[in-house]
Structures are given as structure tokens and as C-alpha cells.
């Protein structure tokens, strides 16, 4: 869409001079031979293919595996920028955990009238099974991926708090490995903060959240829906890197009050289950009865303190797009401070006034499903045809509460390498946050997703977006 709108470029100032974090990179780049760089870019693609870093796209006829395009120009964040960002993220993540605890216990925030009761009570993401339940160590969201966009030198907005099962961390790690392999000289010139110990930190963080029943070193496992899941590569990658078993529902069973996995030598109890399966599929006895992806009875074991489920069931209530609009209040309510990171102004279509506004300004707004993700089912007003707008109006009218709308932000750009040289493309950033009773850890950087089409604002890999290595400079 708004390729014509003025936007902030993270590398080049309007006068053509280079912003400080990119100066070393630009010096290096201008000394490179374009043909050699293109060869390197092809090498990177072959490397990804050989390593099997692929994902499946749902609904494609040939359900084959695809690569997420990788661009070799790094996205560079200065140490100062990161310091502020990470403070804001930590504040937000603390608030989310406090909110979850509250909402499943005394519900002070509802009593105080800061968040409307019906938003919780009528929300599918709110799990009554979690009421009064204390997850081990008091942690709800062990792993969070906060989606952040930038619109100016100091303007950072949180677009989404992915508090259920955020994905993409394997790309963050493999992108860095690829860059180290291809351009070691860049890392001699720039002091880039390390990301490679994420798997070790993840393991430590999960182990610190072990349940009461755990005696001895915690047994950790990653639960995947299976090899046909679009993120299977990541599930196996994380299990492998952590040294944890990768299990599917049919490997697990409740034995003597514990969730246990079928090994070659019998059933062995699991202490911490990092599940990459949605709440709905976790336990056919509690949620969807037809689910074959989960473990019958796991919720009973969980409630009795026999296992840690990461993230806890029911965390979806905190990253729900309708709740999102209340995040500034939520942050303030639990931390007593103003939110450091901004929220994108959001119209809740469930409210009559907002709906009327959204209907009238549809062509300039982005409309999202309250429970949607991955860019599916979303409307980008300025890029939509008349026909698409009309069709979406009908959807809005039929189920207004299913949607929220936001202004189209003028996202920052970072250059990508094209045949014609460097060209600016819109980006977002997903930093990964680990929470345990021992504290919060944010890996410096995260996953930068980039819209490869000129002017496009849609960065999702399922919609043709690519990724970049993301650097935080050690200054």
C-alpha cells in the first residue's frame, strides 16, 4: 500500500547520509562486488534448503515445503535503542503475567472497572478450567514473542503480544549462523550481541519452572502436532538444541498421576512440557474431544501440580486483539507506571461508535480478526479493491465483535538487496522473551520480518514475507 507515504528508513536519513548503527555496514557494502554478493545470497538459500529450514504453507495445492526468503542485509539496532526497547518489553511482559494471574484469581482489574467484564466472560480464549489454578512458579507465559514496529527514530509500537505459542525463534538463530558463515568479516567490524545461547537459556528457564512433583533434574519435552505442521522444523530444532525429547500426543499417556512418554524402556514422567499445540487440542477430556494431538487427562495432572505446561493454558486471553486495546491500562494497573512502548490506536468494532467509524474509513484502516494470526483473514484498506472493501463491510456487519481496526502505520524500512541494488522495504521485529521464576530474559534482537514487495506492509511469511538477521550493537 502506502509506498508513497513518507516513512522512516533505518539506514538512510532523508539527506542520504547513513545513520550511525549502519555506518560500518555501509562502508563494507560499498566495497563489495555485487555479483559476489548475489552468489552468496544463493549459497544462503542452498544452505537453508539443505538444512531443511522450511515451512509448509496451508492451503497450497502442492503442500510441499517452502523456504522463507532470507535477505543478507542485516537489520541493525543501536545499543541505546535496544536498552529502551527491552525495558518496554520487560514492563509489558510483567504486566501480562500479572494480568493473567489476576484474571484467573481475584479479577481486581474487572472490579476496578478498567477492563469490561464481558470482554473476559464472553471470550473463548478465557479458560474457566484455569480459574483458581496456580501454575508452577507463578509463570503463565514462559515464552513470548512481542511484535514491534517502528515509525520514527524513537517511535516503537507494539503490534501484538504473542503469548500463546510464538514461533520464529529458529529463524532468528539460523539467520545469525548463516551470516556468521557467509560474512565473518562483518562480525569483526561490528560488535554484535550474541543470540546463540537462546536454546540453553530456554532450557534453563523451563527447568526453573518445574512443578512440585519434579524430583531430580527436570525432564523437559517439546510437544509438536507432528511433521506436517508448518512449524515442525522449529519444534525439532528447539528440542534438538535444548537436548529435550520431541514428543507427539500419541507418545504420551497419564501414568500414576504423571504425564509420561513412551520410551524404549517403558514410560518416563515429564516435568516440563513446552507445548507447540493450541489450548483447544491439549486435552481431549477437557477441550476438543476429537483432538488426537494432545494427552487425555493432562489437565488433571496439571491442576494437581504434576506437570508444567509452557505456556500455561488460557494465556490467549492476554494477547487477544480485543484485550490488546486495553494494554496501556493493563500496564499501568499492574506496574504503576506509564507504558514505555506505545500501543497502536485500536477501534473495537464491537462498540457501535467505533464500528460506524470503521465502516466509514475502511479504505484507510487495517482490519484484523480478533483471534486471527499469520495475516490470514485480514484487510489492508488502502490496498484493497472496491469489491474487497464491500465484501469486508458485509463481514463486519455480520460479526462486528470479531474484528478490530487500526490505522495503517507508516512502518519503518530497511534496505534489501535487489538486482538493482539496495531498495527500502517495510519491516517489523519480533523479540523473544523468556520468563521464569528467576526472572525475565530478552534475547538481543529477535526476528526481523520484511515485506519483499515494494511498498507492501504485509511481512508474514505465509504471505510472501522474508526475514533478516537482526543485530543489536554492543556499545
Amino acid at each position: 500500500m502506502t509506498g508513497d507515504k513518507p516513512h522512516f528508513d533505518e539506514m538512510l536519513l532523508p539527506d542520504g547520509s547513513v545513520r550511525a548503527p549502519y555506518s560500518e555496514f555501509c562502508d563494507w557494502y560499498s566495497a563489495q562486488d555485487a555479483a559476489r554478493l548475489r552468489t552468496k545470497a544463493r549459497d544462503a538459500e542452498n544452505f537453508f534448503r539443505r538444512t531443511g529450514i522450511t515451512f509448509a504453507v496451508y492451503g497450497e495445492e502442492d503442500a510441499s515445503e517452502r523456504l522463507i526468503p532470507f535477505d543478507i542485509v542485516p537489520r541493525i539496532i543501536s545499543g541505546r535503542e535496544w536498552a529502551r526497547l527491552s525495558r518496554g518489553i520487560e514492563q509489558r511482559v510483567r504486566a501480562i503475567n500479572a494480568f493473567l494471574h489476576d484474571i484467573y484469581h481475584r479479577q481486581e482489574i474487572l472490579r476496578a472497572g478498567r477492563v469490561p467484564v464481558e470482554l473476559i466472560a464472553k471470550n473463548d480464549a478465557y479458560l474457566p478450567q484455569m480459574i483458581g489454578m496456580d501454575p508452577p512458579g507463578g509463570i503463565y507465559t514462559h515464552i513470548i514473542g512481542v511484535d514491534i514496529v517502528r515509525t520514527g527514530p524513537d517511535q516503537f509500537y507494539v503490534l501484538e503480544d504473542n503469548a500463546r505459542t510464538p514461533s520464529g525463534v529458529s529463524y532468528m538463530l539460523e539467520n545469525r549462523e548463516t551470516m556468521l558463515h557467509m560474512f565473518p568479516e562483518l562480525f569483526r567490524k561490528n560488535r554484535v550481541r550474541e543470540v546463540s545461547d537462546y536454546p540453553r537459556k530456554l532450557r534453563r528457564s523451563l527447568a526453573a519452572s518445574a512443578p512440585r512433583a519434579c524430583n531430580g533434574p527436570p525432564e523437559i519435552a517439546v510437544l509438536t502436532p507432528g511433521i506436517h505442521n508448518s512449524a515442525y522444523f522449529e519444534h525439532s530444532f528447539l528440542a534438538d538444541q535444548m537436548g529435550a525429547e520431541l514428543v507427539e500426543g500419541h507418545d504420551l499417556r497419564v501414568v500414576d498421576g504423571r504425564v509420561a512418554m513412551r520410551t524404549t524402556q517403558g514410560y518416563r514422567p515429564i516435568d516440563v512440557l513446552y507445548r507447540r499445540v493450541d489450548d483447544d487440542y491439549l486435552d481431549p477430556l477437557t477441550f476438543r474431544p476429537e483432538s488426537a494431538l494432545g494427552v487425555p487427562g493432562i489437565m488433571d495432572v496439571y491442576r494437581a501440580g504434576g506437570i508444567t505446561i509452557a505456556n500455561a493454558p488460557g494465556t490467549g486471553i492476554s494477547d487477544d486483539k480485543a484485550i490488546y486495546s486495553y494494554m496501556p491500562e493493563i500496564v499501568e494497573f499492574y506496574t504503576g507506571e506509564k507504558a514505555i512502548l506505545e500501543n497502536v490506536p485500536t477501534w473495537r468494532c464491537s462498540e457501535a461508535d467505533s464500528l460506524a467509524y470503521v465502516m466509514e474509513h475502511l479504505h484507510e484502516l487495517v482490519v484484523k480478526e480478533v483471534h486471527g494470526s499469520g495475516g490470514y483473514g485480514m484487510l489492508v484498506g488502502p490496498a484493497a479493491s472496491r469489491k474487497e472493501l464491500a465484501a469486508f463491510r458485509a463481514k463486519l456487519k455480520a460479526r462486528p465483535a470479531n474484528y478490530i481496526a487500526q490505522p495503517t502505520l507508516s512502518l519503518s524500512t530497511v534496505p534489501i538487496m535487489t538486482r538493482q541494488g539496495l531498495a527500502p522495504r517495510h519491516v517489523d521485529l519480533r523479540p523473544f522473551v523468556l520468563c521464569s521464576p528467576k526472572g525475565i530474559d530478552i534475547t538481543p534482537g529477535g526476528l526481523t520480518r520484511v515485506a519483499l514487495k515494494k511498498g507492501s506492509l504485509v511481512v508474514n511469511s505465509s504471505q510472501g514475507g522474508g526475514t533478516k538477521d537482526s543485530w543489536v550493537l554492543d556499545e
Partner: protein, 313 residues
């Protein structure tokens, strides 16, 4: 280790082994077709029987001709034992057990799949066949090399070994099952040129034509070939060698787990019997019966392994 992982390793390896065996059968069949065109059709029919896909083939084709058989065996996805199907099976199992594999083994397996998918994408002509077959050999050798160079010798490795030797024993036994009659002592046929061709084919289909010549200089007779294929302790595709390796792998797992099950009892019994007998006794008691009996016992050991180590629910 998860039972599912042990099962995935076992099957990954069976499929890899099968891809090589199928390629060998095609190689041997193709050679006969080139040098003995009058025997070609019979030879291709027996290749299909050995691969266990004769029925599946006749459901798709009316007659047995070299080009159809080659393409059916190498690239037809409707044939569950085609090289393409089993390589895909191996790679799917490798993805399933990715956490048990070293990066080198996974990448070699993935590359094997990518390379062969490309090479087997279109119909293979006689001109291209030798190159395609050596590509298959080369790719699976790379996986094997990565395994031998990078895997720790623990249960992960030994479940993979079990897959290799259960599959290989089955393959060698099937070759003998289809061709046993040419190995029977028969006065009227001894030394006929047709026999010579058949003997050569048997040896070529286990890639041991040259090895046999070195071990038995000047003396090619059915008794020696049967002895070599069944009882030789150093020929890596003989029944005795496979049974010995299976036993060894099960013993290693038993040591690691601190206890053994029935599969080891059966495997070591089979191994001991093969070491104690000789080829004349086998022929006297009925070669065909012996081979069929071996296939059954090998299958039973495989089933016991699956059960004992909880491959499935």
C-alpha cells in the same frame, strides 16, 4: 529414547537400505538385458518378484518390458518400494527423529532426497540409467559415511543398525528365494551358459561378483555361490553376516539398557545355527525350505524388536 524415535531410526535405515538394494537389482537386470537380450524379459520378471512388487506392476502394465520395469522400480510413486518412494520414506522418518540425528546425517539424508527427487523427476532412458544408478549409490553412501563418521555408538546407532541388517537379510534372502533353483545341483544343467548368466546375476545383485572371484578363484559352481551368499562370515550381505550384526546390535542395546528380551534370544539362535551348519546340509534338507524359513524368522525378529522397544502404541 522414545519408542517412536527408535522405530523412526529403524525404518529410516530399512528404507535407505532398500533404495540401494532396488538400485542393485535394476543394475543386475539391466546388465542381463544388454548382454543377453533373449533372457531379458524373464530376468525383469524375476527382478520384480525379488523386489516383491510383481503384482503391483502387473496392475499397471500389461507386459514386462525393461523401460517400464526400470521406471516402475526407480521412480513410480504408486510403487511403495520404488527408490523414490523409499527415499521419501527414509527422509520422512529422518525428519521424525531429527533430534536423534547428527546435523551431518540429517543433511546428507535431506540432500539425498533433494538430489534424487530431481534426478528421478522425469522418465529415465537407457542412456541415463547408469548415471542415475551411480547417483543413487553415491547419495546413500554419503548418508552411510555421515553415520559412520559422526554418530555416537549408543542405542541410536544400534537401532539404525538393526534396520540395516533386517532389511539387508530380507533382501539377500529374497534374491535367493527367487533364484534358488539355479543353485540346486543338477547334472543336466551344470556349466551351461544359461546357468553362468544366472549365477553372475545373483552375485551382481549383491554387488559381490568380484569379491566372489577373489575368494573362489576359478571355481564357479552353485554350491560355492550358495555357501557365499548364505554362510560367508565376511561377505557384508550374506545371511550369516546380517544375522551376526543384528545379534551384535541387540547385545549392545541390552548392555546399555541392562537387560535383554526375546528378540536377542531369537537373533542369537539364528546366528549360532548359521555358524554351525554347512552348505551341504542345507542343500540336503532343502534349499528352498531353508530360505523361506529364514525369511520367516527374520520377519519374526523384526516384529519382536518393534514390540519390545515400543515402536508403536
Amino acid at each position: 529414547m522414545l519408542g517412536k524415535t527408535a522405530g523412526g531410526l529403524f525404518w529410516m535405515q530399512r528404507y535407505l537400505e532398500r533404495s540401494e538394494n532396488i538400485a542393485r537389482l535394476v543394475d543386475a537386470g539391466f546388465r542381463i538385458a544388454l548382454t543377453r537380450s533373449e533372457a531379458a524379459e524373464d530376468e525383469w520378471a524375476s527382478v520384480l518378484s525379488t523386489a516383491g512388487v510383481r503384482q503391483a506392476y502387473s496392475q499397471r502394465y500389461d507386459k514386462v518390458d525393461g523401460s517400464s520395469v526400470i521406471n516402475f522400480l526407480l521412480r513410480d510413486k504408486a510403487n511403495p518400494s520404488s527408490v523414490m518412494s523409499v527415499i521419501e520414506g527414509a527422509r520422512n522418518n529422518a525428519r521424525l527423529v531429527r533430534t536423534a540425528l547428527t546435523r551431518e546425517v540429517w543433511e546428507a539424508t535431506n540432500e539425498c532426497w533433494m538430489t534424487l527427487k530431481e534426478a528421478l523427476r522425469t522418465q529415465i532412458s537407457d542412456n541415463e540409467l547408469p548415471d542415475v544408478l551411480s547417483l543413487i549409490r553415491q547419495q546413500s553412501a554419503q548418508v552411510r559415511g555421515a553415520q559412520s563418521g559422526t554418530m555416537m555408538r549408543n542405542d541410536i546407532y544400534f537401532f539404525a543398525q538393526l534396520g540395516t541388517f533386517v532389511e539387508r537379510a530380507d533382501s539377500t534372502a529374497r534374491i535367493l528365494d527367487v533364484k534358488y533353483y539355479v543353485l540346486l545341483p543338477s547334472l543336466s544343467y551344470v556349466g551351461s551358459s544359461l546357468d553362468n548368466v544366472q549365477w553372475e546375476t545373483i552375485l551382481r545383485s549383491v554387488s559381490a561378483y568380484r569379491a566372489f572371484r577373489w575368494l573362489n578363484p576359478g571355481e564357479t559352481n552353485p554350491r560355492n555361490i550358495a555357501q557365499f551368499m548364505i554362510l560367508d562370515q565376511v561377505m557384508p550381505r550374506s545371511l550369516a553376516f546380517c544375522a551376526g550384526r543384528m545379534t551384535g546390535a541387540l547385545e549392545a542395546i541390552a548392555r546399555e539398557y541392562g537387560g535383554a528380551g526375546e528378540s536377542l534370544t531369537h537373533a542369537s539362535a539364528l546366528s549360532r545355527e548359521l555358524a554351525a551348519t554347512n552348505i551341504d546340509m542345507i542343500v540336503d534338507n532343502g534349499l528352498h525350505q531353508f530360505i523361506q524359513d529364514f525369511i520367516k524368522r527374520n520377519n519374526a525378529i523384526s516384529a519382536l524388536i518393534e514390540q519390545e522397544f515400543r515402536f508403536y502404541h
